[in-house]
Symmetry: C2
Subunit: 282 residues, 2 copies
Amino acid sequence: MQVESTPSVVREIVRTARRDRAVVGVVPTMGALHAGHVSLIERARTECDFVVATIFVNPTQFGPNEDFSKYPRTMEQDLEMCKNADADLVFTPDTSQMYTADAETVVKVTQLTSRLEGAVRPTHFDGVTTVVAKLFNITDPDKAFFGQKDFQQQLVIRRMVADLDWGIEIVTCPIVREADGLAMSSRNRYLSAEERQRSLVLSQSLQLGKKLALETAATPAEIERQMQDLILATDGVVLDYAVVLSADSLLPLQNRPDSAVALVAARLGATRLIDNQILQFR
Amino acid sequence: MQVESTPSVVREIVRTARRDRAVVGVVPTMGALHAGHVSLIERARTECDFVVATIFVNPTQFGPNEDFSKYPRTMEQDLEMCKNADADLVFTPDTSQMYTADAETVVKVTQLTSRLEGAVRPTHFDGVTTVVAKLFNITDPDKAFFGQKDFQQQLVIRRMVADLDWGIEIVTCPIVREADGLAMSSRNRYLSAEERQRSLVLSQSLQLGKKLALETAATPAEIERQMQDLILATDGVVLDYAVVLSADSLLPLQNRPDSAVALVAARLGATRLIDNQILQFR
């Protein structure tokens, strides 16, 4: 496994791999890897000849009062996990290699980013789409692998790739959960023991939504209400949203659809968690 | 020479060429080709193994009161000129192949676009950078060729390519002029005989600027003033700007620099023309 921090070197390595007709896959990450990230690299390994993981804590996708400076940096373990998952190359740029002082270009998905995470974190998705555009240009992949955990993010990336004709296949991989249901997240390590216990209400609310869709005649609006009630009844959990929306557009649904996505976001102390679940309606 | 209108087909043709290690060059145009465009294709021919010209009148770079609907469409002659200049492939998408109804992604250079053409045409450069990003993703070039005539445009494209790590070399080619000095432009055909005569004051003002820089001690501000006076003294020519700025940043210059760019824009009836000239200071 090669580890490289210089964009032009990474570009050359991938170019050489492509000359041998390798199918190239990229797994963009911010490091602090967990089993969810590993599942992305493993999936890329099964579908691609040359697998690039990227590790870059991207400052532009954090808001001014968010956790950029304290975001976990665990490079040594991250590289070990990439190696065990059989990545070919890990791209580990530092901020000065990704952003020059005079950079002034932004890639913006204008509509899909206005709600949910985009409403709570107004500059977040501009930071995500711009850095992912850069990572796509540096690593020139055929396929890119993202986790369903950041559901809106993978939709936004899909929109960007389609709109800008990138010709990259976006593969969304299932959420990996702890045994008790908590979705894996680099931010889970922020939780106190008490918050960790309380956090279970997020996945429980999604299980409730799944059950209501599959086993009752409840409408999306009724399901939302029951999910919200469950979360609001939990001490120390501040609800940002619990909604049931179109999984393609994140727009509200009329009546009962065939399927939908339930998305939740909540804060536990200083830690903000998100989770989601595809719902099938009976 | 192949002519293709479908993005995915063009992508496959270029991919095949790249497998043979071809250096790929692209010349993006809006058609209505003239000797300036031909010089770009010829330059690409000398520097690249596989030359793609694109012909697409991009609606998103025209303002609501601009000349999109009457912009000259001369496809048959355009293809003949591409063939004579020895292009390998011409990409001729229609609007529905470039923009789906649900497209919502924009590539935005935020600072360099705020003045000059960007001030007069507020949405113009967002349209340019977004469509060029798409054309780059479809044609996957090593080099892209633009005319110096659109001086701010080539700077904006350079900025975008650097900021988004595209790894594409931008080659800016000299302005091609009519025998009497008028810079070649697809819009020159709009000019009446009288306007055609009056239009010469643009290139004359640039020649004046060049001479003042080279042969006198005039400052950029003094040169601007003399250029403006010359244009303002011409009946039927409405001056948008005549300025002498840094050729790298388009920012104002203090004192006398080693070199600079003089840029002019003016309207003759309904037709808007631009021109520019690099100045060397004695």
